[in-house]
Symmetry: C2
Subunit: 480 residues, 2 copies
């Protein structure tokens, strides 16, 4: 009854690869692995990647091969007779040879080529990337399908990948359960109007059918918070890390229509400090992991893209973050020896010009601003019941270069408070499930969200958020 | 210029927590941590969670407290005088006391309570979950905000969380770079009509403006493959793990409108076997990690939800997966001593009844079916140029209980082949960027996608995919 496993023979038919001629094949190494070899001792290896440079001398041909595994390329040394017309910047190659110690100071090893095969040529005249030329991030944005082959974008995406892993580690190590909060939701979390609506591209409704695919209007999530609150009521500590959306018509260097958010929610906490502590730990621990896992990639940004950023980041990591109530912040702004476009007034929003000043005032150390006016904030934030200057237990983290990086709050866990507030907003029915969370074993709880793309902007000093995400989406632009 | 860090004093104002009266506070432990303590020796601890059972005897009160950190609850032993009316199934509590060795066989430790505080009561008459009663998964689906407090759903979501971490580990350990492929895309990847379209909920277009927010129609992704191909052209090995969408009108136990996909793309490979090997490794390694990290949670499913599943899974893990060409598969189906609704014919789709039979025929071992008819598959799959029975280098992985779990292919890396095919489809202009990938340093490459929710169905034996994801979205349903 069993079908025997097909041998390579059968499968090879479906492949265009020629059978290897040699019994012993050289070991295939990634560039990173090759560069890390301590005693190469002329071992036979094979490396695949894209040509970053070709320098042809009379006696010797030098190539640099990069395969995206590291910022550094592997130097290949070859007999000039191995050169071919197709061996150019941008072409893909497979190089076989002996890995040997290098005499150069800059590298441990080099590959002495015995064979160079051009896998895919690249016409340098048509290729938008230019050899040995640093092209601006802005220019490169036109080529989202090719810019990842530059040093800057490939370094950025390696850092992004490592930071993603570090965030998962951070929460896992601290006992959080990861939750996939939904992307399509029938809740319009903050009542914030600027949401995307979702319907099938080909509507084939009969006249008597509900016009909505899901029977109700449905939107792309702006936050997984309410869903995480559900889960914090079962797992105590939960987090999510996924895409969120705003149909934002602004086209600033800090906004995208599709961006990534890290969100956490914690039950049985009743102090804003506990939330601030998690935010600060997250920022510092994840950054330390990133710095230790891809130091060279980060260095590229700190050296060439944002000189001076290294010292700024070290300060953020070494100093304890500052805390300041909203009321204090308004006082500081009022006393500022500076004119603002928006006058700082208790009860009004803190604008980005204000954020900037507050951070400056705090010596470029990240600052938590907490206890915001009740009337500024959404219904789910916990009422501080503090009289005249009525506030809720909300906190924002402001960081140099970016402004608002995180926002969080204690949630209103008291059934009567929540119900009164929802009634006033006419949202009682919509959020019945949410009030039920307060009815069946409620706990004081809170959480926060951190903009992942802004986080990377902050640690690397990258000016424009469109250079942080592989395929940026914003008002009037959705390339690829 | 520095604002001094606020002390706890200042912050405590914004909290409703009473100041602790005792200088020494007992250590706060998660239930899991408490259960893992080897020599409890009467140490002072505090545990927070939800009451899973209350048994009141004349001499002693037993509680079971669960906080979602493990399937097992912590037994609390208390003086009956500590009981209160509010201490009921579902209520949230904080218990302080001494952790001691338990005399029971089933647990190492128990908590001898000195103080029990009901944090949030739970009216057992209104609470949809019923004490000591196994409610069906189907019944529980009505309560997506509460079902995570049951043993089955909380076990499932812990497994989901661990499997997520394991997938990230697997790829990271194997040198893959993680990529956030876009959710909103202007590509309609497979030309498969059933996509969701995205536009702002509040359109405020002036008559002379482009009616689309992004200037072009934009959709929710059905696959990140094309974007991953971009990245494989820079990083060699890449993966993504995120939500994908289908505006699918079917309401089966295997389909969701929003589901999670793990996708990988690898450059410099030209044999389907290499892709199959990654799929098989992924399945086996991730499952092994899950089994070792949450054995009790998995056991719950293998014991109570899908008896017999344990042996089935062990077989899948211990046997090498079977491979079978599409042509062979059609032969097997033609010779089957069974009638199918759809007659098996070369050139036609393999339907789920066929998949089921093939898996049965292979002794319930996962089977790769490869080399599918050219005319059945999308433009990006590599042409095998094999004459009459013209195929492409595509492969599907069929697994017991689920059917199609993974789909992959070698991609058409030859510029002329791809262009001809796109021309014929009238898609040349739309996919110009995609053909450019073949123009500038092309490599043979391939990849696959694995349905994450189906993967969990497969290893756990869960019948309905709606019980696998925290907040299922499907035709006519988007609760919360």
């Amino acid at each position: 009854m069993f079908v025997p496993r097909c041998t390579g023979l059968l499968l090879r038919r479906c492949s265009s690869a020629p059978c290897p001629k040699h019994a012993v094949t050289p070991k295939l190494l990634r560039v990173r692995e090759a560069l890390e070899v301590q005693k190469p001792a002329g071992r036979d290896v094979k490396v695949q990647g894209w040509v970053r440079s070709v320098r042809s001398h009379k006696e010797v041909l030098f190539l640099h091969i990069n395969d995206g595994s590291s910022l550094e390329s592997l130097q290949v040394v070859a007999d000039p007779r191995l050169e071919s017309r197709e061996l150019s910047f941008g072409s893909s190659v497979e190089v076989q040879g002996k890995l040997t110690e290098s005499l150069h100071k800059k590298q441990n090893v080099e590959l002495v080529a015995e064979n160079i095969r051009v896998v895919g040529p690249c016409d340098p005249l048509a290729f938008p990337l230019i050899y040995n030329t640093r092209q601006s991030l802005e220019y490169l944005r036109q080529f989202p399908h090719l810019r990842c082959r530059t040093n800057s974008l490939s370094a950025l995406l390696r850092i992004r990948s490592e930071a993603t892993a570090a965030i998962h580690s951070f929460f896992r190590d601290n006992g959080y359960t990861h939750i996939h909060t939904p992307i399509i939701t029938s809740n319009d979390c903050e009542g914030a109007g600027e949401v995307f609506e979702v319907e099938p591209a080909n509507k084939q409704n009969k006249p008597d059918e509900n016009p909505h695919f899901f029977n109700v209007p449905s939107f792309l999530t702006v936050s997984g918070q309410l869903h995480l609150e559900v889960m914090a009521g079962a797992f105590t500590k939960v987090f999510s890390f996924g895409p969120t959306f705003r149909a934002d018509h602004s086209r600033t260097s800090k906004h995208l229509a599709e961006f990534y958010m890290v969100e956490a929610e914690i039950s049985f906490i009743d102090r804003l400090q506990d939330i601030m502590q998690v935010m600060e730990d997250l920022f510092k621990k994840v950054t330390e992991m990133v710095l230790s896992r891809c130091p060279r990639d980060v260095e590229l940004f700190h050296k060439y893209v944002a000189p001076g950023q290294k010292a700024k980041l070290e300060k953020m990591l070494n100093k304890q973050f500052i805390t300041m109530s909203y009321t204090e912040a308004i006082e500081v702004l009022k006393q500022a020896p500076r004119e603002f476009v928006y006058e700082p007034v208790w009860g009004q929003d803190i604008h980005s010009e204000h954020e900037k000043y507050l951070i400056e005032h705090c010596g470029e150390i990240p600052v938590f601003v907490y206890n915001y006016p009740y009337d500024l904030k959404p219904f789910y934030m916990r009422d501080n019941e503090d009289g005249d200057h009525h506030t809720v237990a909300a906190v924002d983290l402001l960081v140099p270069g970016v402004g608002e990086l995180c926002g969080g709050s204690l949630r209103e866990d008291r059934l009567d408070f929540l119900q009164t507030r929802l009634q006033r907003l006419g949202l009682e029915e919509t959020y019945q499930w949410y009030t039920e969370l307060r009815q069946f074993g409620s706990t004081p709880h809170g959480g926060f969200g951190m903009g992942f793309d802004r986080y990377l902007q902050c640690i690397l000093g990258v000016e424009n958020i469109r250079d942080i995400i592989p395929f940026p989406r914003f008002f009037r632009s959705c390339i690829l």
